[in-house]
Every structure is written in C-alpha cells, then in structure tokens.
C-alpha cells in the first residue's frame, strides 16, 4: 500500500484502485482534540480539490478536501461516536472515507512520505 500526501495535510493510502483518505498526524496534532467529523456520502462523486468533509476541534472547524477524484465507496462510521480516533490513530482507525480512483495519474501530483516530511519540517 502506497501513501501519498497533500499540502493541505490529507493522506491518500492506495490499495489497487481504491484509496483511503484521512488527515495526517501533523494535522491532527495541529488541530487538537477532534470532537466532530462530517464525512461525504457514499456514492458522492468528487473531483480532486473538492471539499469532502469537515473536522472540528474544541476550538475550530476546518474543511477537509479530497486530494484525488472518484466515487466515495465507504465512510468511517466509527467517527460519529468516537471522533477522537482521528487523534489517536489518524492513519489507521481514524480514516475518513474510501474512494474509487477515477484518475490514478493524479497521485503523481501528491507528495510521497519523504516529500511530505520535508514539507512539514519547513512549516
């Protein structure tokens, strides 16, 4: 499974033609305690850069964008009752949604692990 990153701090974990999307550890740490997550609907067709949800901490609400285009095939229902999963396991149980990639070439526009770590360390 390859993981790609956006400059907006979303990750895209690709397995075949399906990608799991969420926010990075850096992002959850900057946000603080997540208290509410709004997810897209299964069946939504999203273009790369579209708003795909909202993540709210005690203090603020932030928009989440999808870095890749495709159809939403699954959302993480567990976040409704336990939004803190985004803090405790952002790239695991704290995932947001799964999307069937419509254009795998978009992944080339994203950063790989090293590229993202370089980017974050420069912030």
């Amino acid at each position: 499974m390859d993981i790609y990153y956006s400059e907006d701090h979303e990750y895209v974990a690709v397995d075949g033609d399906v990608a799991m999307v969420g926010i990075t550890d850096y992002a959850q740490n900057a946000l603080g305690d997540v208290v509410y997550v709004e997810l897209p609907k299964v069946g939504d067709t999203l273009e790369a850069g579209d708003q795909a949800g909202v993540v709210e901490s005690v203090k603020s609400a932030s928009e989440v964008y999808t870095p890749v285009s495709g159809e939403v095939i699954l959302v993480n229902e567990a976040l409704a009752d336990n939004p803190a999963l985004v803090n405790s396991d952002p790239v695991g149980d704290g995932w947001f949604f799964k999307i069937r990639l419509s254009d795998a070439a978009e992944l080339e526009d994203l950063k790989d692990e090293d590229g993202y770590q370089d980017y974050v360390s420069g912030l």
Partner: protein, 374 residues
C-alpha cells in the same frame, strides 16, 4: 485542511511570557498580546477538565487594571455603569458594564471598592483604549493604569488549598466577589475571590517584577497546570459568561444581554447612568431580542455566526459564542433570538453548513457554578 493561526508582528508580551515558553505554550495573538492558546502535554480538552477537577493557572495580565481615586469615585463611575457602586462596602466587588448613550455596552468589567476614595477596575484587553477615554471624562476622579502589574487567575476546586499553601490561609479565606490586599514575599497583592470559569478561585494582581516567581511557585504544586485561552473560552462558555466583542457589543443593551441582574434596585429606581432613558423602559416593557443558551442536539458544534431559525422556518437570531463543552461532553452555544423564542425549552434550528441542526433554548449556565458564597 486550513493550517493553524499564523503569528503576527508587534505583539505585547505579558510579564509571564517566559513562563508560557517554559511550559511549551502554543502562542497566538489576542487583543494585541502574544498569548498562550494551549500548552504542550494536555491540549484544550484536558486543560479544561483539569481546571474543573483540580486547579488551572491563567495569565490574564493582558487585561487592563485601573485605579480610580478621588473624593467619591463611586458616585462618578455610576454615571457610566448601571450597577450599584456606591453601595459596595470596602473589599466587595461587582460585575458591571460601561454604557454608551444608546444604552449599548462599551465593555464589561469588574469593579472593586478598595476604600471610600478608591475603586479598582479590571477591563478587557481589547477595550482598554476606549474604556480609558471614557473613564477620563469623569470629573473629580484620577485614573491610574496599573500596567506595572500582572494578573493571574487560579481557578478550580483545588485553588483555595493551593493559594493557602503559598500565601497562607488568611489570604485564601475570602468569599466570592470580595478582595483583600495581601503583603507577601511577592510584594503587595490584590487577591480577589473571583474568576471567569464558573469555578471557585482567585484573581491575583501581582507586581510585574514578582509575577514570574509567583506563577512558578503556584505551578510547582502538583494539582496546578497552566491553562491557555482555548480552555478559558470553553470554560466561560459552559459557565454562561459573556465574551465581549462576541456576546456583548455597543449595539446591545444589558437587558438584551440578559444582564438585568447587574442593575440593582436603587439604580433601576433612580437611573442617572448613560443610556438609562433606553434601558429603564426596556426593564418595564421588555426587549425584542434576548441572549439565551443553546444546546444543539447531536454532536456537531454550532459556532459563532451561525443563523438560528424557528421551527416555522423564520430567521430569529444568531449564535454569538459556540463550540464544544468538554465538561458537558457535547456542543454548547449562546446567542440572541427574538424574545418570543427565548423561553427555556423552545425548540429551534441552527443552520450549519446548509443543514438545519435541531437545538433547544436552555437556561444558562450549562455547568453549575461552584462559587464560594459567604
């Protein structure tokens, strides 16, 4: 995701700035000051809960401390505020508001009677300039800004024991809304039994040069953690307390703001304050809109600026403060609605990102106040 707040230039530092750094504070600009938003280790949620369960130390040195002196500063100040200041005994304090000619609120503040010839005021950081301009117009009163003093709030159920351990039992013995001067190793302190979290606690004015030493002494106690502005906001919101510039402004009267309790009987009868010609009839006849508590159903926070609707679909008001209440364990908010929708228990809707979220009008506060009454 949008990144977090960026720092701006030319910010004031409080005398406790180094203390914030030593605890790994995440700093942010607030009212022209570089202030701690939260500290390394706990985060907003845990800082909030720690304050309610133990004790939190807050740097509120950005607030304006003012001494009004003269033959009769209480009578003079009563022309600008609707509360009974003349009736305050020495060492007693009161929450009040500065008013404009329209009865709108210029600022909310604490006023303490030091003695016959002196009042001690604590005003909001962002309102200092306009407050001072207004206070300067009072005749027969000398205004002295105490900007050589820091202000530290120690809040929570453990606050009394902690303060008694540092300053002695007498210094920590006052009841809610009283103040005493305490001579200490940290200089002359003004120790008030007050705060803005809904918890028991103190606000302590300390000479700037001793502030860091005093704060570190309090923070050395295992029950005390430094608490940032993030938790300060969620604590005061759960306590149903107003934040100036959000819940109160110059176009809002104290009656609309549900602060009628701050206008004591004598002032209602006599008037004699700015805007009385507007405010006193509002007490008689009511107002068109009122500040209320809002409990959203579900988990989605309903934040400042969110429009409110009646169940019939009519726009009835707006949220002025809103977020997540860690002690409540869910979203909490306050705002203004048309008076016919202001009754406790009224179901209303909040429009959050294009979706109507059901809410209920509730009595404030969300969390029972734990003040130490006499």
């Amino acid at each position: 995701m949008e990144p977090a707040i960026k720092m701006t230039q030319d910010l004031f530092k409080t005398p406790l700035w180094d203390v914030h750094q030593s605890f790994g504070a995440k700093m942010a600009p607030f009212a022209g000051y570089d202030m701690p938003l939260q500290y390394e280790g706990l985060g907003v949620m845990q800082e909030h809960l720690h304050t309610r369960e133990n004790a939190g130390l807050f740097d509120v040195s950005h607030m304006g401390q003012v001494l009004l002196t003269g033959d009769d500063p209480a009578t003079a100040l009563e022309t600008l505020v609707p509360s009974d200041i003349k009736g305050l005994a020495a060492g007693k304090m009161r929450y009040t508001v500065l008013l404009n000619d329209k009865g709108g609120i210029v600022d909310d503040l604490m006023v303490t009677r030091v003695d016959d010839n002196a009042l001690y005021l604590v005003v909001n950081a962002g309102c200092k300039d306009k407050d001072f301009a207004l206070l300067k117009t009072l005749s027969g009163v000398k205004m002295e800004m105490l900007d050589d003093r820091a202000l530290i709030a120690l809040q929570g159920p453990k606050a009394e024991a902690v303060l008694a351990g540092v300053l002695g039992a007498d210094a920590a013995s006052g009841v809610f809304m009283t103040m005493q001067k305490v001579d200490s190793d940290f200089g002359a302190l003004f120790v008030s039994r007050s705060g803005y979290t809904g918890e028991d606690g103190f606000e302590i004015s300390v000479p700037a040069g001793a502030a860091e030493r005093f704060a570190q002494k309090l923070l050395a106690h295992p029950d005390v953690k430094p608490i940032g502005l993030g938790a300060r906001d969620s604590l005061r919101l759960e306590a149903g307390l107003c934040l100036y510039g959000y819940d109160l402004d110059e176009d809002t009267t104290p009656i609309e703001a549900n602060l009628k309790w701050a206008i004591q009987k004598r002032r209602r009868a006599e008037g004699g304050f700015k805007g009385a010609d507007i405010i006193l009839p509002q007490i008689e006849n009511g107002v068109a809109r009122m500040r209320i508590g809002i409990k959203p159903e579900g988990r989605a926070p309903v934040r400042e600026g969110t429009e409110l609707f009646s169940k019939e679909g009519k726009k009835i008001g707006i949220v002025t403060s809103g977020g997540f209440g860690p002690t409540v364990g869910g979203p909490v908010a306050m705002g203004y609605v048309e008076t016919e929708c202001a009754k406790d228990g009224t179901p209303i809707d909040a429009m959050v990102r294009g979706t109507k979220r059901p809410c209920v009008v509730v009595r404030l506060p969300f969390v029972t106040q734990q003040y130490k009454k006499g």
